[in-house]
Symmetry: C2
């Protein structure tokens, strides 16, 4: 299991730093965020060190995300929240504080002041089709 | 394949409403959001109708998320972004606008004014351990 000596999440995976762990399997661990946005704010972390999901093989990522529905149900039950955000940040510009892939499960309630800054735009004429072609090209679809 | 007659994403899956589709397999489709937060903002949608991830069987969810790394790489390549947020909202309170599970891939750049409202708190004495026990109980771990 590749570990980075200076990575706080690798140290949590290895048990060198304590965490409020609630789940573990071969692919991932889940523990409570100690700087929570809401009670029961959970982190799911692949055991292997990858900085971004774009670095991860598909099956390794799916082995982690496989656990999200059951972990999300437990967070809903324990928090009594009305909803959830599942958030995963890649790169410092995106808000990623620890450069080891992690997925946030964030319980939501009316008036909690959380959520994504939703500043939606509109594509100028032709741009949507241009991006569609470029993405299809990149994906080979 | 369960379809909801009044669901806009079920209609896109069925081809009854056009979309700028870039990927499709047995489990999901991916298309450009027409109200983008950034150029190449992508949506990944399970073909089957579920309102929330907490309603989804683990393997069905993993069959969708399996595609996230390759789709995220294509979005990075085409957008030239510095980072990405992967966001999935459950419930109106969380910002979910269409009640059919969907995953946002949102390209990020310095100064774009996007991102999650990060208003982190701290648990009072004993609360972390109480939540850890409750979650472990809910998960049977």
């Amino acid at each position: 299991m590749p570990q980075q000596a200076d990575c706080v999440f690798c140290k949590i995976v290895a048990g060198q730093i304590p965490s409020a762990k609630v789940f573990e399997d071969d692919a991932c661990i889940a523990f409570l965020d100690i700087g929570p946005l809401a009670d029961a704010h959970l982190l799911i972390v692949p055991k292997e060190h990858y900085e971004r999901i774009t670095d991860m093989p598909a099956l390794e990522f799916a082995a982690v995300t496989l656990r999200i529905p059951q972990l999300a149900r437990a967070v809903m039950e324990v928090s009594g929240a009305e909803g959830l955000n599942v958030l995963q940040n890649n790169g410092q510009v995106s808000g990623q504080a620890v450069p080891h892939v992690h997925i946030h499960i964030i319980p939501r309630r009316q008036g909690d002041g959380l959520g994504y800054r939703w500043n939606a735009g509109k594509y100028p004429e032709g741009k949507l089709q241009q991006l569609q072609r470029a993405l299809a090209g990149a994906l080979g679809t």
